[in-house]
């Protein structure tokens, strides 16, 4: 295993261009799982980001919250403004794992790990976050909802580094994050939903329901149109237009659909007059 240790973003980009297969490492909470047994991965080249102090900040501008590649869940949990303005980030961070993971796991790592169950991606997408990628060729900004192309496939090219995540600062009329796992702590989502409402505009995002975390435009349209819903089951046909859950080690497709319908129905009933 060889490790490259840049101290600036431009040096990191240069190294990635020279070693296109190098894998960036932030907190290691995904990359080092069962490490001693993963002998093949020991031969890879890693790009350690921990020495790049410019990537350590959490910054508020007038328009955005800017998370850096090394910003951890804990950094957000303990930021009072995050709790006030973007509470779904804090909710998700508190459920992604316990403090040991919160202290090391990063939002950027959650994005590039590209799990369909990613709690961080779920709430970032509900807030219309975008991903900033840097390379020797320059900067590219991609809306998170366009970032994934299929199961664990994303629009990051090997020579690009996710450096920042930009989250717009807006005031919301309603926000919801729900995660259902096998237990309350230390569980990966069987189903996750994040919903925001702002000036009549809905965002509904689902995790563990499709090959990637994804927006649910059919559900969003139903909410915008004010279509009457008198039972969670009424939502099922619409949900099925948006997502395609599977049976796997964590749950079943049927369970996931039904739970998503219930999470939305009971979670939105108080703000949707058309939900009986």
């Amino acid at each position: 295993m060889s490790v490259l240790t840049p101290t600036t973003v431009s040096e990191a980009c240069r190294l990635l261009a020279q070693h296109p297969g190098a894998l960036p490492v932030a907190g290691g909470t995904d990359l080092f799982v069962h490490w001693p047994q993963r002998l093949d991965d020991h031969d890879r080249t890693y790009l350690d980001l921990s020495g790049i102090n410019a990537l350590r900040t959490l910054r508020w501008t007038d328009e955005e919250l800017i998370l850096s590649a090394l910003t951890t869940y804990w950094d957000v949990i303990r930021d009072p403004r995050a709790q006030e303005e973007l509470p779904l980030l804090v909710d998700a961070a508190r459920q992604v794992g316990a403090i040991q993971i919160q202290a090391r796991g990063t939002w950027a790592g959650n994005i590039v790990n590209a799990s369909p169950a990613a709690d961080g991606v779920l709430v970032l997408m509900a807030y219309d976050a975008s991903v900033v990628l840097e390379s020797v060729e320059g900067r590219e900004v991609i809306p998170l909802e366009d970032f994934y192309q299929g199961y664990r496939m994303m629009r990051r090219r090997p020579e690009q580094l996710v450096t920042w995540i930009r989250v717009p600062r807006r005031s919301y009329d309603f926000q919801l994050f729900e995660k259902v796992g096998a237990r309350a702590a230390q569980a990966i989502a069987k189903v996750g939903v994040a919903v925001t409402l702002r000036g009549g505009e809905w965002r509904v995002v689902a995790s563990s329901m499709a090959p990637t975390v994804c927006r649910c435009p059919a559900v969003e349209e139903l909410l915008s149109l004010g279509t009457p819903v008198s039972d969670p089951a009424d939502l099922l046909p619409v949900i099925r237009e948006d997502v395609s859950p599977i049976d796997d080690i964590r749950s079943t497709a049927r369970y996931r659909e039904e739970v998503m319908a219930r999470l939305l129905y009971f979670g939105l009933r108080e703000v949707c007059p058309t939900f009986a």
């Binding site: 080092f32 001693p36 350690d48 303990r78 403090i99 090391r104 702590a185 080690i249 964590r250 979670g267």
Partner: protein, 233 residues
């Protein structure tokens, strides 16, 4: 490669392999076997150590990343400190105990965490397979409230171990280098939480809207799990 860091208040410097985990370096390189390996995947918390004051799973920390950092292991804790855990029956096989103690030490140094979190949530990353959690939580509650939870240490010389640790953690907050923070403040030492005010608005993990939905879905989860016999995690 060579790595230097502060271990339990003392500077250490040693040769490591680039693929070593912090856990391997502690146990094999430094013969500090108090830190246990459980699951090796960051779930069970038995390998918990404090890194720059925050609990981390040392099985997931690449050892080269701790250069310049502060690492604290269970060896830094005076066992007499932990009488309350014995008294409450908090340990049986003992595999989880070092990790439990380190996470609790973090809480003890940052009592303001208990304004925004309950103790069970803070301890959720330390799994126990023997005693169940009530004894652990009971013992920790006694420990956390002893001596005033701010580590005043006026009580007895026993406290010196922990106070020593706190001294270190109150030093300049330098995650990996002097200018690391860039105005971001500490990365986990004392004063971690927004203390007064801020998170008081959050009464628990589910402060907001979807409370009802959660209850419904969890009931539901129980039913379906029972039916399919699905494995956890």
């Amino acid at each position: 490669m060579r790595v230097s860091f502060a271990l339990n208040g003392q500077r250490v410097s040693l040769e490591i392999a680039s693929g070593d985990r912090l856990l391997d370096v502690l146990r094999c390189g430094l013969a500090l076997t108090g830190t246990k390996e459980g699951c090796g995947e960051g779930e069970c918390g038995s390998c918990t150590v404090l890194l720059d004051g925050l609990p981390v799973n040392s099985c997931l920390v690449p050892a080269y990343q701790v250069r310049g950092c502060r690492v604290e292991t269970v060896e830094s804790v005076n066992p007499e400190e932990l009488e309350a855990l014995h008294a409450s029956g908090a340990t049986q096989c003992g595999a989880c105990t070092p990790g439990v103690v380190l996470t609790a030490l973090w809480v003890r140094r940052n009592p303001q965490l208990l304004h925004s979190h309950n103790l069970r949530e803070l301890m959720a990353g330390n799994l126990c397979r023997c005693t169940g959690y009530d004894g652990i939580i009971d013992g920790l509650e006694v420990w956390l409230s002893s001596d005033g939870s701010v580590d005043s240490g006026q009580d007895s010389p026993k406290d010196s171990g922990i106070d020593g640790g706190q001294e270190i953690s109150e030093g300049p907050e330098t995650p990996t280098g002097p200018e690391a923070a860039e105005g971001q403040g500490d990365l986990g030492g004392p004063g971690v939480a927004q203390g007064k005010g801020g998170p008081g608005s959050q009464d628990g993990p589910e402060g907001k809207g979807g409370h009802k939905a959660r209850e419904v879905s969890q009931e539901d989860a129980g039913g379906v799990q029972g039916r399919t016999g699905e494995a956890t995690s």
